[in-house]
Symmetry: C2
Subunit: 203 residues, 2 copies
């Protein structure tokens, strides 16, 4: 696939990034369908030809946005040490606080796109699937470490727990977005933390 990626000049790279950044923000605010390429073009201070010079079409731009957002999210995530209960709690507080600050608008920058593109854009769905796999792996890493250190019950399955935690986060963000209230998000994450606490054991 991706045959000969034309190399970008310094200026070109900057323009491309400006476009992706503008698109990411707009899409997070209003969703893919309600974000027009015209809006992206204006917000990025670019022209139509620039946009279509760097991206084949709108779906290609959306895929670039997904990857960009996934990088950001996972980067933020990895500032926390998810191999301890305290670290998990800090992460939970961070996520809930962030939701509160933004009045729960937009939901998850990539999760919100999921339902919108999954059934109509196979390629975007694939990019999303890969992104969520990376994300889950990042959470799992913490739990695996916890497990290896003997702080987690031997029969606990870090993969399953990580998947469930990510699902709780996604569902919590979605409900919070719809209710405009962080309570469901807090409840979902607290439930997972309680379960993990239950599986904790002193070394």
């Amino acid at each position: 696939m991706a045959p000969v990626r034309p190399r970008l000049t310094r200026k070109g790279e900057a323009t491309r990034r400006r476009i992706v950044d503008a698109a990411a923000e707009l899409i997070h605010e209003k969703g893919v369908a309600h974000t027009t390429v015209e809006e992206v073009r204006d917000a990025a201070n670019a022209s139509s030809s620039q946009l279509y010079h760097y991206f084949d079409d709108k779906p290609a731009l959306v895929r670039a946005v997904i990857e960009r957002q996934a990088d950001t999210i996972i980067g933020n995530q990895e500032r926390f040490d998810l191999s301890t209960l305290d670290g998990l709690r800090e992460w939970r507080d961070f996520v809930v606080e962030h939701a509160r600050e933004t009045d729960c608008r937009g939901g998850c920058p990539i999760g919100s796109l999921g339902a919108e593109v999954a059934e109509t854009e196979p390629e975007a769905r694939t990019v999303l699937a890969a992104s969520f796999n990376r994300w889950e792996a990042s959470i799992r890493a913490g739990l695996l470490k916890m497990h290896a250190l003997g702080r987690l019950a031997p029969d606990a399955d870090p993969h399953e727990l990580a998947l469930a935690t990510l699902a709780a986060l996604q569902g919590g963000l979605l409900l919070a977005q719809i209710q405009r209230d962080p309570e469901p998000l807090a409840a979902a994450l607290d439930a997972m933390l309680k379960l993990i606490a239950t599986l904790q054991q002193q070394a």
Copy 2:
């Protein structure tokens, strides 16, 4: 609000229902943005004037679809007795099996719409919020009964647990839809069931 709902004749009601049903199916398959009123019109064997006779505009139709889907979902849900661990497990199996049968396509009939309309259609968001409140109340009812019967630890909070369970379901469905694999859904629900089992106590 809703000033003088024009009364519908038997035939009119049937047409209206045909339109909502067709719209519900198409929207579940492809999302709101990718479902055109023309498609709905054809799938329902109706004409444009019929569609706009029963609904002010597309958003109004979408709101009707949300309410219809919420009724269906909650109706299905209430065939299970969520006041026992066995009943919860049956419900879990039903949901996971249904996802498997449909190859995880479409996700949740109302959850998938959430991200798509929440930021752009305040009225639809309100309808969704009310629907999820009803849904949560339905789950909570089971847990409250469990609690009242003394089968749940006194310090357990049925409201928080119900919210977390609904979030786990939504997040699980979303991840399953994106991955085309029911595993995340199963993991999310199993985690909640394990937590609830932990909070169980013999009478």
